[in-house]
Amino acid sequence: MKIRFKTIGLIIYFVLLLLPIYWMLNMSLRTNADILGEFSLYPSDPTLVNYLKIFTEPSWYSGYINSLIYVSINTVISLLMALPAAYAFSRYQFIGDKHLFFWLLTNRMAPPAVFLLPFFQLYSTFGLIDTHIAVALSHCLFNVPLAVWILEGFMSGIPREIDETAYLDGYSFPRFFVLIFIPLIRAGVGVTAFFCFMFSWVELLLARTLTTTAAKPIAATMTRTVSATGLDWGLLAAAGILTIVPGALVIWFVRNYMAKGFALGRV
């Protein structure tokens, strides 16, 4: 009986969660005149014209490609940097460890508006403006600290005896870390990869400031329709639906890591 109550609550929540997204899907399958003309719960005359426009115009689809490139670079950099650092924080004491750990997170706390100007100047000094690597690097500012924090939490959940046993068995640090330790926290790695991907994917202000055309992200392309004469709701909705797809694929791939949980029994 209790289980059924839980399930019903969960289903209601998911329906509410999906309603705004369903509404966007509904809009994306209708023309603008149709949307403004009549209120309809479902597309009575579904059309793919909005999607066709996005897939055929380079100014639209290049936005998705640019976003995907810098987001992938950022996720890889963030994970590679954060894994060893999180291990250091979770296993050892060293001078300044607590301060450094908290300082990392303070980098998420700056209101972006005024910081954008010095950011632009800094990246132009290095000649990085309008490159994918610039956006990927600037997103490290908030993703690397987050990755360190999340991974540290997962690593601290693993008993230290595992490390000591492995070292006694003659494992070197790199071999132990890659072969034993990372598989143990694969749930944490999966969650972290997803979060890095997500925060980099949805960030607009830095990505827009550091790019002009060659690396322009999709979120910035979408603001263009807002400033055009009147809003093309259908086109905007179709573009919105397409922004969800890559991330949904990523979580589909990491879902097993999250679901399987921990294999602590192997000690």
Partner: protein, 289 residues
């Protein structure tokens, strides 16, 4: 058991330190620099000391925005953290339901923030929106562009819709990390489900919940794109949160000095509260052990 002291651990941390410092320190210093100068144009600047800080701190509209921001972030935390944990507890633990739930949960998180605002405009408009249209046809007048209360409800609803899944994902990952042996032991002891939650699940979720509270506090305090697109800070100033006011000041009035001083104060407020939350959550955890 205390962690062993090992200064060589710094070598594992140095790459992270360098890559973050590259993007963090120079811009921060530049903004501090702006905040103590009056800038007329390239090469023409005068040192003004704390003048901008005094001006910013005595700005009435800024204080209004600040209180509005505190109210908003408090509500966000009070709603999203318990709701997120509840949903995580209700989620299936194995089987196909897990994959489905995880993918569904992630959907709102993956939408760029300006698009979130657009979705909610479409969703809540009285003429073409499902939400607005339904409420109005039920006889409830709802218009977030005219009534401050409706605007607040809409922004809060949007925020809860957008970010509760983040809390749920973190809490769920924390729950998954609890070994089954703990539940077996609790069952043998005949523990109630409340006791299991209070003495096993909650303490084990402390780490992920600390991250969830800090992230939700910081991001809701910095909220900009979503309400800006949805309401533009109106009607009146009713949804002008701190970031929206800051952008009005920095871009609208070209007041780089005061805006920079404002940014620094803003940053320090978030820093202070995040630190308090962090300390509090660390100590609560220790009491449970």
């Amino acid at each position: 058991m205390e962690k062993p002291v090992n200064q060589k651990a710094w070598f594992l941390v140095i790459p992270v330190f360098l890559i973050v410092a590259f993007s963090a320190i120079i811009p921060l210093m530049t903004v501090v620099n702006y905040s103590v100068q009056d800038i007329f144009g390239p090469g023409q600047r005068v040192f003004v000391g704390t003048e901008w800080y005094q001006e910013v701190l005595s700005d009435n509209r800024l204080q209004d925005a600040l209180w509005r921001q505190f109210l908003f972030s408090t509500l966000v935390l009070l709603i999203e953290i318990p709701l997120g944990v509840l949903i995580a507890l209700a989620m299936p633990k194995r089987g196909w339901g897990v994959s489905l739930s995880l993918v569904l949960l992630a959907l709102p998180l993956l939408i760029p923030w300006n698009v979130i605002g657009t979705i909610w405009i479409i969703f809540t408009r009285p003429d073409i929106g499902l939400f607005g249209h339904t409420l109005n046809s039920l006889g409830i007048t709802f218009d977030h562009t005219a009534a401050p209360f409706d605007a607040w409800i809409t922004v809060l609803l949007m925020e809860v819709w957008h970010w509760t899944p983040l809390v749920t994902l973190l809490a769920y990952a924390g729950l998954q990390a609890i070994p089954d042996a703990y539940y077996h032991a609790a069952r043998i002891d005949g523990a109630s489900s409340w006791a299991v939650f209070r003495y096993i699940q909650l303490p084990k979720m402390r780490g992920v919940l600390t991250i969830a509270v800090l992230l939700r506090f910081m991001d809701s305090f910095l909220i900009y794109a979503e309400p800006f697109v949805l309401t533009g800070g109106g009607p009146g100033n009713s949804t002008t949160f701190l970031s929206i006011y800051l952008v009005k000041m920095a871009v609208g009035q070209f007041d780089l000095g005061p805006a920079a001083a404002f940014s620094i104060v803003y940053f320090l407020i978030i820093l202070l509260f995040s630190w308090l939350f962090y300390q509090a959550l660390q100590n609560v955890g220790r009491g449970n052990k």
